[in-house]
């Protein structure tokens, strides 16, 4: 063996080949990164940062600590048995009185989640404290509003003294901190979220199943018909995609309401009597009936693209070898279409679980899903912490499902087209 193999191989310039190769590759790598950089930044700014912000909001409770730092410090000394001392009243008094701008307004919105009533109490106090010049403050505060003598209000502060809180997550699953900061179940008449989670899940699964049942034959037909017919059918499948979601939903409403076309026809044909009309709208059934056709294309398209690639020769061969049509379908066609089925199911399920507008319009009293509560708290109560935790739970659920799916079916088996 000569020297070059025991040492390193050199290029013509005398640089080791390994180094030179690395250099060339590094240049390529940088070029590749620069090429994807705009997309990467785009995803970072429009996707990752907002989601990160949302996740932070779901545990963040720091604002209130900046408004009442001294009070909260003093609060930790309180024994929680009797009304607080004059000292705690005094710090509270000055932090309310001397607060600037909108601090009290914003803080009171947060405090009102812990105990209803804080909002007006602080607003009123802020206005009236200006007239109080000197102590003792306890009696004067109670004279302004007797809520200041209510232990419940003072105890409610206890759940807010830390800068981070799990409270929003607890609320999102019908739990809460009681005034002693122990985790307890929400009052029975306020328990809504567990029920809603279950329903959201149920509706999504049912929509997925119905989409599969309806979409499979359609996709099969599309993939086996001659091109000139299948194109026409394809347009029929895609047509709803080009119509506004609202228009479609309202059109279905006209068809399905109790005095609507569908029920009228049945009554006219004497299939049902006038007072036993089907309730196909404003309930959970309606949510399922309305979402299914809207999401159907998301099932048909991946199915179609997979079925198109299944050669008809496989089926012919199976039949030729003596399998019954059912058996051949079960053993040959179905396994081949699994990538399309899983892609369609995953797609439909993910879209359905976050659905908002259709349940809002036709869900009525029991067809509301988690999305509706997120929208409600986002718009009306401004409890964005709760919105964020509901959203984060939804995200976590999807991630777990995706992981389980990957373990069972394998993500490489998915085919979207």
């Amino acid at each position: 063996m000569n020297e070059t193999t025991t040492g390193s191989i050199l290029t013509t310039e005398g640089v080791p080949l390994k180094v030179s190769l690395q250099k060339a590759e590094r240049r390529n790598k940088i070029r590749a990164i620069l090429l994807v950089a705009p997309l990467l930044l785009f995803i970072l700014f429009t996707f990752l940062i907002p989601i990160g912000d949302m996740l932070l909001r779901s545990v963040d409770d720091s604002y209130i600590n900046t408004v009442f730092p001294k009070t909260f410090k003093e609060y930790k000394k309180w024994d929680r048995q009797d009304l607080p001392s004059e000292e705690l009243y005094k710090t509270m008094f000055f932090e309310v009185k001397d607060s600037e701008g909108y601090a009290i307004g914003k803080a009171s919105t947060r405090m009102n989640y812990a105990k209803s009533g804080w909002k007006s109490l602080l607003k009123k106090s802020k206005r009236k404290f200006k007239k109080i010049e000197e102590g003792p403050y306890k009696e004067q505060m109670i004279a302004i509003d007797k809520k200041w003598a209510d232990m419940e209000y003072w105890k409610a502060i206890g759940v807010m003294v830390d800068a981070t809180t799990a409270g929003y997550y607890l609320n999102a699953v019908d739990l809460k901190y009681n005034v002693d900061k122990e985790v307890v179940r929400q009052k029975e008449n306020r328990r809504i979220y567990n029920h809603t989670w279950f329903k959201t899940f149920k509706v999504s699964v049912l929509v997925m199943v119905f989409c599969l049942m309806l979409g499979y034959p359609i996709a099969y037909l599309l993939s086996t018909l001659p091109l000139k017919y299948s194109n026409l059918l394809m347009i029929c499948v895609l047509l709803p995609f080009w119509t506004s979601l609202l228009v479609r939903t309202v059109a279905w409403m006209v068809m399905l309401q109790q005095k609507g076309v569908f029920n009228n026809l049945l009554v006219m044909a004497n299939v049902i009597s006038d007072d036993s009309r089907f309730k196909l709208i404003y309930n959970e059934t309606a949510t399922i009936i309305f979402i299914t056709p809207i999401l159907l294309p998301f099932m048909v398209l991946p199915l179609y693209s997979v079925m198109k690639t299944i050669s008809p020769n496989y089926m012919r061969a199976a039949l030729n070898l003596g399998a019954s049509p059912m058996h051949a379908f079960y053993k040959i066609y179905m396994p081949n279409s699994v990538p399309g089925v899983s892609a369609g199911c995953l797609l439909v399920f993910i879209i359905a679980i976050g659905y908002y507008i259709t349940p809002e319009l036709v869900g009525g009293k029991d067809g509301q899903m988690v999305g509706n509560w997120i929208a409600y708290h986002l718009k009306t109560t401004l409890n964005w912490g709760l919105c964020a935790s509901l959203g984060a739970i939804l995200l976590a659920m999807m991630t777990v499902l995706y992981w389980a799916y990957n373990k069972i079916v394998g993500i490489e088996n998915i085919k979207l087209g």
């Binding site: 701008g101 909108y102 009290i104 307004g105 914003k106 009171s108 919105t109 009102n112 989640y113 209803s116 009533g117 804080w118 909002k119 007006s120 607003k123 008449n189 306020r190 328990r191 809504i192 029920h195 809603t196 329903k199 309401q257 109790q258 005095k259 404003y282 809002e360 009525g364 009293k365 029991d366 509301q368 509560w373 409600y376 986002l378 718009k379 009306t380 109560t381 401004l382 409890n383 964005w384």
Partner: protein, 353 residues
């Protein structure tokens, strides 16, 4: 050719700059007959600036808070409910306004420092006369009595006004409603009353929906915004009848969003809250002006409501008419700002279970 393009381009820039000295504003309201009346009463007559863009929303402070927090304010003037006016002003989402012009002319004092007066509107029950050929429902008790008047009821998807109405239907005096609501037992009592109609309700969330539900016969009675009922009766000739009992009277205000085109917004708001503007709005929708002098203008001008083939007296259709007021509940925005979230969750649980 190139020169021409260049000249046009420069010209356009020049136009853009001269126009920007007085910005357009975006006015956000509730849509339908309600926005239509605002359009005719004070948007069409607004001559400053180059225009007002009108957008619709469904209430709530969510969008506004998002815009202000992100520093990307696209709404300038928004039509809000009083509890939102309180919260938004406290949290610094709205601009404070000079109220000296109208403060002594208002029927009730303004709920916050950020608002200019608009109208009183009301949740009220109504039905189509054709639905009850025999005995007709007279009061809110009848609305809650599904034995005496069988059939579905249309109610809205949130708790406001429903709690008040349920309590009055259960025998509480209209003037004592908020005293009862401030006790836990009072809320229990309201929900117990709501339970009696639970299996007979259809929910709506958009203001035009209850009219549709009643017209199509989907429900026999519904709660709705009185102005929508009035507009349907007065302009479209619908045969609806109000049930003026336990009518829940709500206020409505305009606010300017902080960080928007504040100067123009405030000028527009001053224009939109003159006694004449508020009176003019009642030509197109039967909502009650919040300024006393607007009512005087209407009284002198009756028949006030504009209709082809002869105008109609508007005062009897207003929620502030004396005979209505006698049996009405005046909504307390402070109670709702405090307890709204808690009661709403309970209402949600009631709806869903």
């Amino acid at each position: 050719m190139f020169k021409l393009i260049k000249a046009t381009f420069l010209g356009l820039i020049a136009i853009a700059f001269t126009a920007s000295s007085y910005a357009d504003i975006t006015f956000v309201s509730w849509g339908g007959a309600s926005t239509n009346s605002q359009q005719k009463a004070y948007i069409d007559t607004w001559s400053k600036g180059s225009g007002v863009t009108v957008e619709n929303y469904n209430g709530g402070l969510g969008e506004i808070k998002a815009q202000v927090e992100a520093g990307n304010v696209t709404w300038d003037v928004v039509d809000v409910l009083p509890d939102q006016a309180i919260t938004g002003c406290d949290e610094g989402l709205f601009v404070k306004v000079d109220q000296s012009e109208f403060i002594n002319d208002m029927v009730v004092p303004p709920v916050s420092d950020c608002v200019v007066p608009q109208i009183f509107w009301a949740y009220t029950a109504f039905y189509d006369k054709a639905a009850f050929p025999g005995k007709k429902p007279k009061n809110i008790k009848d609305f809650f009595d599904v034995k005496k008047f069988p059939g579905k009821r249309g109610i809205h998807t949130w708790a406001n006004a429903l709690i008040e109405m349920a309590l009055v239907a259960d025998g509480v005096k209209a003037s004592k409603v908020y005293d009862v609501m401030s006790t836990p037992e009072g809320i229990d009592r309201a929900f117990a009353k709501l339970d009696t109609i639970k299996d007979h309700v259809v929910f709506w969330s958009a203001g035009s929906k209850p009219l549709e539900l009643v017209s199509s016969g989907e429900v026999v009675m519904a709660l709705a915004y009185n102005g929508r009922i009035g507009a349907a009766v007065l302009s479209e000739g619908k045969d609806f009848e109000y049930i003026w009992d336990a009518t829940v009277l709500e206020q409505e205000y305009l606010v300017a969003i902080k960080g928007g085109n504040e100067k123009e917004a405030l000028e527009f708001m001053a224009h939109a809250s003159t006694a004449q503007a508020l009176a003019d709005q009642a030509k197109y929708i039967p909502y009650g002006p919040m300024r006393k002098s607007s009512i005087d203008i209407i009284k002198k001008g009756e028949p006030w409501f504009i209709k082809e083939g002869g105008n109609i007296d508007i005062l009897p259709h207003m929620p502030t008419a004396p005979k209505v007021l006698k049996r009405a509940v005046i909504a307390d925005p402070v109670w709702w700002a405090d307890n709204g979230a808690e009661v709403s969750e309970r209402f949600g649980a009631w709806k869903g279970n």
